[in-house]
């Protein structure tokens, strides 16, 4: 069978994957604290390498025969998003490195801590500081929920210390996770951090800005171009597939003709 089919098909599938990732970036171009994903691809090893054959002169042809493309793990770009002032006392943005911790329900009814750059918070009826997206509690440095007095002015310092009436009442968990590649997106602008990566967490070096939010870090032009270039790559790979189709057709109708 013609090998080029498979190579063309791998190109189509990989480009479609890139388009999916870019489409998600573009859909989140106004999502607070959103970080852009890169749909990465890697070349598949040549046939000789993949089959573990010896480097013999007779294998030289296989050496040169590429094998198409594979999907690589999605990488998240932790670029700083624009800081937009909102004037709401319970909005915070993070300038520089760092994440806030948010509690939530994990698998099997357990409690889990997720990390976010989305600092839009509000108070629930009990006065507990929660995230606006789904009301999960925003945690302090000891991973406990924070209760505030709604009647008093809330001031949040650059290191996450919350002050009411001049007194320090709580301190937001504000950590940096050194191994950024371990972070996995969990939806709701949050990241899941595996326990191994959490061990490398340290106090954040960035600073918290009150009455502001961090806008989406997606560069709309790059995302738009990624969507379009993926569409072009699909067309090109499909074109290669139809050429191979034509070639096979000719091989059947002309080469194999019994005159």
């Amino acid at each position: 069978m013609n090998y080029g089919y498979a190579i063309g098909a791998s190109g189509v599938l990989a480009a479609m994957h890139r388009q999916d990732v870019a489409a998600n970036n573009l859909a989140n171009v106004t999502t607070t604290g959103f970080k852009m994903d890169l749909g990465a691809t890697v070349p598949r090893e040549a046939a000789r390498v993949e089959d573990g054959l010896y480097n013999l002169p007779s294998n030289k042809l296989l050496e040169r025969l590429g094998a198409g493309v594979l999907l690589a793990p999605t990488r998240t770009v932790f670029e700083q998003g624009p800081i937009e002032t909102t004037g709401k006392p319970l909005d915070v943005a993070i300038r520089g490195d760092g994440f806030l911790a948010v509690g939530g329900a994990g698998a099997g009814g357990t409690q889990t801590v997720r990390y976010t750059r989305d600092g839009r918070m509000t108070l629930d009826p009990r006065g507990i500081l929660v995230s606006v997206t789904d009301g999960s509690p925003v945690l302090d440095a000891q991973n406990n929920a924070i209760r505030l007095d709604p009647g008093q002015k809330i001031a949040i310092d650059g290191d996450g210390t919350i002050r009411q009436g001049g007194r320090e009442v709580a301190r937001l968990a504000f950590v940096d996770i050194a191994d950024r590649t371990a972070l996995r997106k969990a939806g709701a602008n949050r990241f899941d951090v595996p326990a191994a990566a959490l061990a490398s967490s340290a106090p954040a070096r960035g600073s918290i800005v009150q009455e502001a939010i961090e806008g989406s870090a997606v560069d709309p032009i790059r995302a738009m171009m990624a969507v379009q270039s993926a569409a072009n790559a699909v067309s090109a790979s499909l074109r290669m597939m139809s050429m191979h189709d034509e070639l096979t057709g000719r091989a059947i109708s002309q080469l194999g003709r019994i005159s």
Partner: protein
């Protein structure tokens, strides 16, 4: 696969559409007394894992990261901005609350079972029975039940919300009643009833009542009302941003459509 990008783009367009609706309503109420601007809050949707992290590869190494594809965006909710509007010089009976607090108003509305709604729009008037009401077409009574009848020369509302009546020919001011303010643990959880009125919900918590100037309540300024807190410049900038983002998502749909069409044409 291109189906996912179509869905992501569609979710983006529908969420941005909601954001545009919110902005349009804010702009429409740029001159509404006591109006509080809203914003649409966005969050990314769940991610599908095309391959899990931690899977061993052929060399027996663990794959450090997974292969995730997002499924788009949604509006997680709208949130009120309760920053105060500016005091604007108004009629004699207009009041402005400097600081926290809502006026309590009687309503007959299924959405407010307690029969009380809350407002910051302190444009007051007297109805034909001399009751202190909101100067809207519904003429809703204040829940404090203040009635001012008889021959009145002047009405004063002091900073603590006490209503004082000046009768002609009488030097001393007559006590007309007390305006009580309400506050909420979570004012962002209030639900809007229209007519600048809010109703308490489970999310907002029950009202905390008190006199102006005590505890966390603001003081009352007579002769002024509160302007809308919508900032037209911010809203217009947001509108441009949302509109452009919407256009870009519609381009994604076109590009994904192109892909699907090319695939469909593969077999001639």
């Amino acid at each position: 696969m291109a189906i996912i990008s179509l869905q992501s783009a569609a979710s983006g367009m529908s969420a941005l559409n909601t954001a545009l609706d919110v902005i349009a309503n804010n702009l429409a109420n740029v001159n509404t007394a006591g109006f509080k601007a809203s914003r649409a809050n966005f969050q990314d949707l769940l991610y599908i894992e095309r391959s899990q992290p931690g899977v061993r590869n052929a060399n027996d190494d663990q794959r450090p990261t997974g292969l995730q594809v997002g499924l788009g965006v949604k509006v997680s909710g709208t949130e009120y901005d309760f920053t105060a509007g500016n005091p604007i010089k108004g009629n004699k009976l207009d009041i402005y609350i400097q600081g926290n607090g809502f006026l309590r108003v009687q309503v007959e509305d299924a959405r407010s079972p307690s029969g009380t709604a809350y407002t910051r729009a302190g444009q007051l008037a007297l109805n034909s029975d001399g009751e202190l009401v909101l100067a809207t077409d519904q003429g809703r009574r204040l829940a404090d039940g203040i009635t001012i009848d008889g021959d009145v020369e002047d009405i004063q509302i002091d900073s603590s919300g006490r209503v004082l009546i000046k009768r002609p020919g009488v030097a001393e001011l007559e006590d007309g009643g007390q305006l009580t303010l309400a506050n909420f643990v979570n004012p962002w959880g209030l639900s809007s009833l229209g007519e600048n009125l809010f109703a308490d919900t489970d999310a907002s918590g029950p009202p905390i009542e008190g006199e102006a100037g005590t505890d966390s309540f603001g003081t009352i300024l007579q002769g002024y009302y509160e302007s809308s807190n919508v900032d037209p410049t911010t809203e217009l900038i947001n509108m441009i941003r949302v509109q452009r983002a919407f256009e870009m998502n519609s381009n994604t749909i076109r590009a994904a459509d192109e892909v699907l069409r090319s695939v469909a044409q593969l077999r001639r």
